[in-house]
Symmetry: C2
Subunit: 345 residues, 2 copies
Amino acid sequence: MGNDHLTPPTHATIDDVAREAGVSTATVSRALHHLPYVAESTRERVLEAAGRLRYVANPNASRLASGATSTVGVLAPVLTSWYTTEVVAGVEDVMAEAGYDLLISTADPEARERMLSGETRFRQRVDGVLLVDVMCREDGAQRLALLDVPVVVLGEEVHAVDSVSVDNIAGGAMAADHLVTLGHRHIAMMGGRSYARDAHDVPNDRAAGFRGALRRAGLALDPLLEVDGGFDIEGGRLAMHALLDLPSPPTGVFAMSDEMAFGVLQAMRERGLRPGVDVSVVGFDDHPVSEAIGLTTVRQPVRAIGRTGARLLLDHLEGSAEVDHHPMPLSLVIRASTGVPHSSP
Amino acid sequence: MGNDHLTPPTHATIDDVAREAGVSTATVSRALHHLPYVAESTRERVLEAAGRLRYVANPNASRLASGATSTVGVLAPVLTSWYTTEVVAGVEDVMAEAGYDLLISTADPEARERMLSGETRFRQRVDGVLLVDVMCREDGAQRLALLDVPVVVLGEEVHAVDSVSVDNIAGGAMAADHLVTLGHRHIAMMGGRSYARDAHDVPNDRAAGFRGALRRAGLALDPLLEVDGGFDIEGGRLAMHALLDLPSPPTGVFAMSDEMAFGVLQAMRERGLRPGVDVSVVGFDDHPVSEAIGLTTVRQPVRAIGRTGARLLLDHLEGSAEVDHHPMPLSLVIRASTGVPHSSP
DNA sequence: CTGAAAGCGCTTACAG
DNA sequence: CTGAAAGCGCTTACAG
């Protein structure tokens, strides 16, 4: 109380600024947008008046009048996994700086279908769309290319629209090669069809790469050692317990995500087994916790994936028509969870 | 190609629907908003026409005309910590269902000041605001109460506006009591002033509760055992190494966040020390990884904090004027990282 | 370099 | 129950 009684009950509009500066609203608009053909002295007067009135343009009015939304839509799996959060953070980094808002929507299967048919809540509300791990395939990408906004696809390689992804086949092979090189012969592979990765090429690609590398080493993947860990911690824990209950448990495990690998390590701890000694474990992602607990993993540049996708979308918003696939690098990070097999042949 | 040539190059507007249904735009608007005083037969005709034309109202036009934004602002520390992500996910759960968009903004110190003075990018763009761990204190809350949108504060107790938080003093005491009960006497406390928690009451409250509980047990906190772990993994690791380099290292450590505790465990692993045997560790949060690695911790209902805050804000948006503090419960989750002191007196 | 005016696509009193 | 019309606050050709 006793404070600033002058606080306006409502916000200043462009008319207020025009009056204050003694010019028309058109001139105010031009001056504030730094458009050419405004006398320097006029511009200064407008800027000053706007500052005095603490004027901020009403975005709804601007957008309605100009047709631009200054918003990009992000369709992503539930923002619950570290991976997704981090990708979106990368997108946010770039888009915030460029002055775009993000409208984030959850990518369940129906949302995916609505997206492909252009029926999303994004309609009329965004200037462009980023799809995170939605898995459209080439036919989906062709439908996206027909939409009236530019679209960039993250997490898979397509060609009808811009895309950025890692080479999951190579990633699976890196994990296998590492375990084989250490001397492992009896190796398990843990994947899954999580909610987020339903109908996904990602696990399939990692599996294919993993199998291929084993094959090249003269090994085959024992069907008993191929398990579903649901891409989360608890799923990884349960699947690992099942593996350890086998008559002949594996000496090495490749978990297709670090979160599953955390569950694997938890199961080992529950049985008093030592990672890297009794059983070797390789994850995928390089979650921040992985370094802390010493998990060997295939690192993806998660945040950079988001940033790169955002930059590509900005290019399109500025008129670029180039369409390409942008591969991102993977690397193996070796830590304490892998070592030579305990009972080496 | 060869596909649907009829796809309209532009979106249907309310005028198109009105023409198609043979009514005025006013009637279309009323019918679509399920307002009273529209003949059932008319409503049906409008709904059908809108469906046929795949009409979606232009939100910018709606918002400009009605003055409502259907958006709530969320001011939160960098969306990089699990805690923040999870709170925001809880907010999103509730707000998405109520038909509100989220406009998320980063809460650095300048953003905090702009918020308190009503100068944010939220101006004119949101119907309400949720502050996550921004720490306004009572005087800040009084300024927020003067703003022209309702505000709910998460993470601290204030009274000028609605707030929801846990009792951090009690939480610090729970950690201390647990370690003392196990027989620990030489106990370290790891806090910090992270970017996110700068100028924060949270660490202070946890520290006060921790100290108070020690005092009640006839113990005092050795100043050498009070360290800064920066509220992240690496900071926790470094601080723990420093503690272990002390002439008389602690037998127990209370880290004020699970992520710091992960760093503590990493440092121990690097030195071959066993959690719960050589040194006992208590965290704070109950991060999903904590169960996997067996970290004893003070659990907060993080997602529920976000949900509760969102519901309170919705209440205000619907006209409620009640203002209250809403406490959320903490609980101690005992796991393998704590045990009786190795060299018990 | 600047202004008058139309228009963006809705919502909402105001009259019937 | 329904329509004509004003108005929300901007932007942007179109003229000067």
